[in-house]
């Protein structure tokens, strides 16, 4: 079963749950920006949740089915049509050979994830299918998808009829918003900041800057003042870490985050809230931060992931 890309403008790449085990060599984890949406798309079509999806950002993409297949599209910021119908996201659909699956960008939200029953067949590089555009490897020859590319699936886990028409109930999906409040675990360098700055960080609003990308979301708002020095000896960092360079404007590291960095980190966004941040629209979305503890953040993440078990089958649309 396969899908051919017949139209694309925007950024479409192959991603999975990330390239694990090579960060000590300087290789970013990459993977889906909205990991929950990518996992949900896989779950809907009966794949292991860490499998490959097509991540679509910014524009339009259209696929033509070369054979019958089942696909699911999740995420935010797109409208979905299959053949002649407008369909809802966060559900799986039977697509007949020759039909077109089309995604059009809407105003709110950033990334959509398309999964195909049986998973996307793509070679693993350093154990992962994720595309690293900067170092040009992974995915399809380390590049964005283009017209004529064919996405081939493996063998589905069940009969296609059984995988189609399934949905994830709305109450267990991330609560996307143009003005989300994100949980943050403070540290490890919160002591590098003045008391007033910590207070400002947790009480004021930040706009996501237009210069944001898969590497990091830059924020604009009340500048955070360092007590003494604004640089550290480089140390490891991770998706969600909030670095503050000398200009005081925070940068939240995202999926393509470099593995190390040298600016003090005021905190890190809770894993459960990273999907909400990922779907923020640069230049538009406004976010607030709320302090949480590691234990609470982990509990919230457990609950979010457990929600993926609640896929409902045999839904009539």
């Amino acid at each position: 079963m396969s899908l051919e890309i017949i139209e694309v403008n925007g950024v479409a790449t192959i991603q999975d749950s990330g390239r694990i085990g090579w960060r000590k060599f300087g290789v970013p984890a990459s993977g889906a920006m909205d990991a929950l949406a990518s996992r949900a798309a896989n779950a809907l079509v009966g794949n292991p949740t860490n499998h490959v999806t097509v991540e679509i950002g910014l524009g339009v993409i259209a696929f033509r089915a070369l054979q019958d297949c089942v696909v699911a599209v999740t995420g935010a910021g797109f409208e979905l049509s299959v053949y002649i119908w407008d369909f809802r996201m966060w559900s799986s659909y039977y697509v007949r050979a020759g039909w077109t699956v089309r995604l059009n960008k809407l105003e709110s939200g950033m990334w959509a994830y398309l999964a195909i029953a049986g998973g996307v067949q793509t070679p693993l590089v350093l154990g992962s299918a994720s595309t690293n555009l900067r170092a040009r490897f992974g995915g399809l020859d380390g590049r964005q998808l283009q017209i004529g590319d064919v996405i081939r699936s493996g063998a589905p886990s069940r009969l296609l009829d059984e995988l189609a028409a399934r949905t994830l109930p709305e109450e267990v999906r991330p609560r996307y918003s143009d003005h989300p409040t994100l949980d943050v675990v403070a540290g490890p360098q919160e002591k590098y900041f003045t008391d007033g700055s910590i207070e400002a960080f947790f009480s004021s609003e930040y706009t996501v800057s237009p210069t944001s990308d898969r590497m990091g979301y830059r924020l604009e708002g009340i500048p955070l003042m360092h007590r003494n020095k604004s640089e550290l000896i480089s140390e490891g960092m991770t998706m969600g870490a909030i670095q503050v360079p000398s200009n005081g404007q925070p940068i939240v590291m995202m999926a393509d985050s470099p593995t190390t960095g040298g600016y003090p980190k005021i905190g890190a966004v809770a894993s459960a809230d990273l999907p909400l941040l990922a779907q923020c629209v640069p230049g538009k979305s406004k976010i607030r931060f709320r302090e949480t503890t590691v234990a609470k953040a982990q509990k919230k993440y457990h609950e979010l992931m457990a929600g993926l078990e609640r896929i409902q089958g045999d839904v009539s649309f």
Binding site: I20, G21, W22, R23, K24, F25, G26, V27, P28, V125, L126, N132, R134, A135, R136, F137, G138, V185, G187, P188, I233, S234, E235, G236, M237, T238, G240, A241, P258, T259, T260, K265, G267, A268, V269, A270, S271, V294, A295, A297, Q298, Y301, H302, M305
Partner: protein, 218 residues
């Protein structure tokens, strides 16, 4: 300083063994990383050694923070025993100056040394790969002799070729892929630092010893 174990979010922990760039501290970081890797503790995903810290990534669906912290405390207590193992040594042939080492002459002028002195001092010493980062396979090596210490370029170049040997501050590095770069470029090695299609994709590993070997002066 006493080791500190600090959360970075809900799925990684920073172990801080010191607060400066120091050989002894960095050797303990690598020893700790190896201890944790060898223990195969279920739920620990991977570690990232840096100058004086080790970042430990873990799966919060398997391990709560409190258990990671206890496990790390136990490992830190054992680290002295393994910190003095002989590291692997990598020899790196370098063509100093020439097409890629375009800053060699201006660096020598800035440092008040002859070009020959810069080459001799840079290639004499055995360096330690303190950490890797920036791009896949990029080694941060030190410490550079004080005589070679100079600042980064004010304006980074938009493209530096893979294999270019560079210096900045107390460190020396080699660009692992074609990338932007702000260090002073003094030479080039034909060795490939990163190739994802090779069985061993990386020339270096954190904790390696590195010796530059003068190939010829272009």
């Amino acid at each position: 300083m006493n080791p500190r174990i600090l959360p970075l979010g809900d799925s990684s922990v920073l172990v801080q063994l010191g607060d400066e760039i120091e050989l002894k501290v960095n050797q303990r970081v690598h020893a700790l990383a190896k201890l944790i890797e060898a223990s195969g503790f279920h739920g620990i995903v991977e570690t990232v050694p840096a100058y004086s810290t080790l970042l430990v990534h873990y799966d919060p669906l398997i391990l709560p923070f409190s258990r990671v912290k206890n496990e790390l405390r136990a490992k830190i207590a054992q680290v002295e025993e393994t910190a003095n193992r002989k590291p692997r040594r990598v020899d790196v042939p370098v063509r100093y100056g020439g097409e890629y080492g375009i800053d060699l002459e201006s660096a020598a002028r800035h440092l008040g040394l002859s070009i020959e002195d810069v080459i001799r001092i840079h290639s004499e010493k055995i360096y330690l790969v303190y950490m890797m980062g920036f791009t896949p396979g990029y080694p941060y090596m030190g410490k550079l002799d004080d005589a070679l210490m100079m600042p980064r370029l004010e304006t980074p170049r938009t493209r530096v070729a893979a294999g270019t040997v560079a210096i900045a501050g107390s460190q020396t590095g080699i660009y692992s892929i074609d990338s932007p770069g702000g260090w002073n470029l003094i030479g080039w090695t034909p060795l490939k630092l990163f190739d994802p299609d090779y069985d061993s994709p990386f020339l270096f590993a954190p904790g390696d010893e590195v010796k530059f070997v003068v190939e010829d002066v272009a």
